[in-house]
C-alpha cells in the first residue's frame, strides 16, 4: 500500500507541477497510470490467496478451489471418479474430474496445457479403477 501511495503521490505531484507551468496534459497521463498501478496491486491483493488443490486420502478425492471470495469443495469417491481430458478448439486441453454426473474442471487458470496433461497422466494412475 505504501508503495502505491508513494508512487501515486510522486506522479501526481509531478503532474501538478507541470500543470502550473502550463503543461497540464501531463496530469491525465499521470492519473491513468496511478489508476493502473492501484488496480494491479488491488488485483494481486484479491487473488494472492487463490488456489486449487486435489487431495487423495483413503477412498476420497477432494477438490478444493479458492478464488477471491468464492470457496468450493467437491468430494468424490476415489475409485468411482473419472479423469477426463477434452481438447479445445484452440488445441489446448482442459482437465475434468467427474463422478455421478457431476463434473469439476481443474487447473484452468493455474496450469498451462502441458501441466494439465501431465497431471491427468498422474491422476489416471491413482483415480478410478486401478489395475
Amino acid at each position: 500500500m505504501a508503495v502505491v501511495a508513494i508512487t501515486a503521490a510522486f506522479s501526481l505531484l509531478v503532474g501538478l507541477g507541470f500543470s502550473f507551468a502550463g503543461a497540464w496534459l501531463v496530469l491525465p497521463f499521470a492519473g491513468l497510470e496511478v489508476l493502473a498501478i492501484a488496480y494491479a496491486f488491488y488485483y494481486i491483493h484479491c487473488h494472492a490467496g487463490d488456489y486449487e488443490s486435489i487431495t487423495i486420502e483413503g477412498d476420497s478425492l477432494t477438490i478444493e478451489k479458492h478464488d477471491y471470495k468464492h470457496d468450493s469443495r467437491t468430494v468424490f469417491n476415489r475409485y468411482w471418479a473419472g479423469v477426463l481430458v477434452r481438447e479445445l478448439p484452440c488445441g489446448d486441453h482442459s482437465l475434468y474430474l467427474r463422478s455421478h454426473g457431476k463434473e469439476v474442471e481443474f487447473g484452468r487458470h493455474f496450469m498451462n496445457d502441458d501441466q494439465r496433461l501431465q497431471l491427468a497422466e498422474q491422476l489416471k494412475k491413482r483415480v478410478g479403477v486401478i489395475t
Partner: protein
C-alpha cells in the same frame, strides 16, 4: 504396452507450437526470449542506419544522402537504439531472470507481460514506416528532429513526427506495463525468506528502474501529446507566438530524458556485480552500499534534468543548482565503482568472455561518467554543448555502459538459457574487436568535440577530416564485429557443448540451481497429491 504409453506421453508433452505459441504465450522465459531477439534485430537495424551516417561523414562534403535524410537517420537511430534495442534487452533479462532469481513461478501478471512485448513490434514499425512510405511518395520521411523532438522544429516537421509520437506512446504504455509487472512481482512473488535486503542486485536495479519509468513516462506521454495538439489541433503549448513556450518542451523532455539514461543502466548495474563476483570467486563487496547508491542515484536523477540545456538561457541560481545536483550524482556512482573494483580485489579471477566484457565495461563506462562530469560544469558546457564531445560522452555511457554491459549479460546467461556453451574463443575475439573498434570510433569524437565540431550536422570543416575518417573506419569494424556476436548466439542456441546447471565455477544465486536450460515451467511444485 509400455511402448504405447510412452509414445502417447511424449505426444502430449509438446508445447503449443508455431506462431500461436509465441503470440499467446504468458511464459516468462518465452517472453524474455522474444524481447531479447527483438532487441538484437533492432540493434542491427539501428546499427545499419548509423553506419550509413558514418560513411557519409567519412569525408567532408555531401556524398551519399540529402541533409534531411541524414537528419532522419540520426533521429531514428537513437530512438531505435534506446527504446527498441537497449530497453527491450534489459526487459528481456528481467523476464528471464527475475522469477528465477526471486524463486517465483513466473511474473506476477503474465498476460500483461505478453501485451507488454507485443506492443513493441508495432511501435518499431511505426518508427521506421515513414522511410518506406517516402519511397512511395507519401510524406517526407521519418522524424528529422533528432531523438529529442525539440519544439518548434517538431511542431513544423512532416508526418514522420506524428508516427514517432504514436510510437512513443505505444512504447510508453509497454514500459509502464512492464514496470508495474516488475514492481508487483518483486513485492509479492519473492520466495519465502527472501527479504528485500537479500534480493539479488539485479532485482534492485530493476525495481528502481521501474519506479523511474513510472515517475517519468507520463511526462513524456504528456509532452508528445501536447506536441500533437500543437501540430494538429491549434493549441500553443510550445508556440511562443501563441503565448506558449518552446523551452517548456525541453523541460518536459529532459524530465523524462535524464532519468531515462539511468533506466537504461540500472538493470546493467544490477547484474554486473553478479558477474564480477562469479568470476572473482568471492562475494560481492558492499551489497548495502550498492543498494543505497541505487536509491541515491534514482532519486537524484529526477532533479537534475536541466543540465541538458544549460545554454538555453536560465537564471544563474538555476544553473548553479543544476550543476551541483548533477555533480552530486557522481558521489553514489563513485561508490558503485568502488564496490565493483573491490569485488574483484584479490579475488581469484578468470577471464571468460562475460568477465572480459565486465572489466572492459568498468573502464569504458568510467570514461563515460568522468566526461559527464566535465559536461556538468556550466562554464565548460558552454563550449562543449551540442558538439561531438557530447556524442562521445553518451556513447561511452550507452554503448559501453549499456550495450556492452548487456553483452556481458548475454554471454553470462546464454548457457543457462540455451543449455549449451557458446564458443569461448569467438566470444573473446568479439570482445577485443568490439572494445578496440569502439574506442577508435569514439575517442576521435572527443577530440572533434573539443575542437568544436557540432553534432547533428552532415557536413564539416576540412580540419575535422582525419579524425572523422578514423572514426568511420572503426565504426565499420565495430558494426561488422557484431556479426560474430550473432553467429555465436545462433550457433549456441542450435547446439554445442552441454552446459552444466551451475555453468560457471563461481556462480551463486537461485537461477543456477535449476537445470540448463530451465524447464518450461520454472516451478517444480506440483499440486499436492497425497
Amino acid at each position: 504396452m509400455s511402448y504405447a504409453s510412452t509414445a502417447g506421453h511424449d505426444e502430449h508433452h509438446d508445447h503449443p507450437t508455431g506462431i500461436l505459441r509465441w503470440l499467446t504465450t504468458t511464459n516468462h522465459k518465452d517472453i524474455g526470449t522474444m524481447y531479447l531477439i527483438f532487441s538484437l534485430i533492432m540493434f542491427m537495424v539501428g546499427g545499419l542506419m548509423i553506419l550509413a551516417v558514418r560513411v557519409e561523414l567519412f569525408q567532408p562534403g555531401m556524398q551519399l544522402m540529402q541533409p534531411d535524410f541524414y537528419n532522419q537517420l540520426i533521429g531514428v537511430h537513437a530512438l531505435v537504439m534506446i527504446f527498441a534495442a537497449l530497453m527491450p534487452a534489459a526487459t528481456g533479462f528481467a523476464n528471464w531472470m527475475l522469477p528465477l532469481q526471486l524463486g517465483a513461478p513466473d511474473m506476477a501478471l503474465p498476460r500483461l507481460n505478453n501485451w507488454g512485448f507485443w506492443l513493441l513490434p508495432p511501435a518499431a514499425i511505426l518508427l521506421t514506416l515513414p522511410f518506406t512510405l517516402a519511397l512511395f511518395g507519401i510524406g517526407d520521411g521519418a522524424i528529422a528532429t533528432g531523438w529529442t523532438f525539440y519544439a518548434p522544429l517538431s511542431v513544423q516537421g512532416g508526418i514522420g513526427v506524428d508516427f514517432a509520437i504514436f510510437a512513443v506512446h505505444i512504447l510508453g504504455i509497454s514500459s509502464v506495463m512492464g514496470s508495474i509487472n516488475v514492481i508487483v512481482t518483486i513485492f509479492n512473488m519473492r520466495a519465502p525468506g527472501m527479504t528485500l535486503m537479500k534480493m539479488p542486485m539485479f532485482a534492485w536495479g530493476w525495481l528502481i528502474t521501474a519506479f523511474l519509468l513510472i515517475a517519468t513516462i507520463p511526462v513524456l506521454a504528456g509532452a508528445v501529446t501536447m506536441l500533437l495538439t500543437d501540430r494538429h489541433f491549434g493549441t500553443h503549448f510550445f508556440n511562443a507566438a501563441g503565448g506558449g513556450d518552446p523551452i517548456l518542451f525541453q523541460h518536459l523532455f529532459w524530465f523524462f530524458g535524464h532519468p531515462e539514461v539511468y533506466i537504461l543502466l540500472l538493470p546493467v548495474w544490477g547484474f554486473m556485480p553478479q558477474i564480477l563476483q562469479t568470476f572473482a570467486r568471492k562475494p560481492m563487496y558492499g551489497y548495502k552500499a550498492q543498494v543505497y547508491s541505487f536509491w541515491g542515484i534514482g532519486i537524484l536523477s529526477v532533479v537534475v534534468w536541466a543540465h541538458h540545456f544549460f545554454t538555453v538561457g536560465m537564471p544563474v541560481p538555476a544553473l548553479i543548482y543544476f550543476m551541483f545536483s548533477t555533480m552530486a550524482i557522481s558521489v553514489p556512482l563513485a561508490v558503485l565503482f568502488f564496490c565493483w573494483i573491490a569485488t574483484m580485489w584479490r579475488g581469484s579471477m578468470t577471464f571468460e568472455t562475460p568477465m572480459l566484457f565486465a572489466v572492459g565495461w568498468i573502464i569504458l563506462f568510467g570514461i563515460g561518467g568522468l566526461t559527464g562530469l566535465v559536461l556538468a560544469d556550466v562554464a565548460a558546457d558552454a563550449q562543449y554543448h551540442h558538439t561531438y564531445f557530447v556524442v562521445a560522452h553518451f556513447h561511452y555511457t550507452l554503448f559501453a555502459g549499456g550495450i556492452m554491459g548487456i553483452m556481458a549479460g548475454v554471454y553470462y546467461w546464454l548457457p543457462k538459457m540455451t543449455g549449451h556453451m557458446y564458443n569461448e574463443n569467438l566470444g573473446k575475439l568479439h570482445f577485443w574487436l568490439t572494445a578496440i573498434s569502439f574506442n577508435l570510433t569514439f575517442i576521435p569524437q572527443f577530440f572533434l568535440g573539443l575542437a568544436g565540431m557540432p553534432r547533428r550536422i552532415p557536413d564539416y570543416a576540412l580540419q575535422f577530416a582525419d579524425f572523422n575518417a578514423v572514426s568511420t573506419v572503426a565504426a565499420l569494424v565495430l558494426g561488422l564485429s557484431q556479426l560474430l556476436f550473432i553467429y555465436n548466439i545462433v550457433s549456441c542456441a542450435r547446439g554445442g557443448k552441454k552446459a552444466t546447471d551451475r555453468v560457471w565455477e563461481g556462480s551463486d544465486g537461485l537461477e543456477w540451481t535449476l537445470p540448463s536450460p530451465p524447464p518450461y515451467h520454472s516451478f517444480t511444485e506440483q499440486p499436492v497429491i497425497k
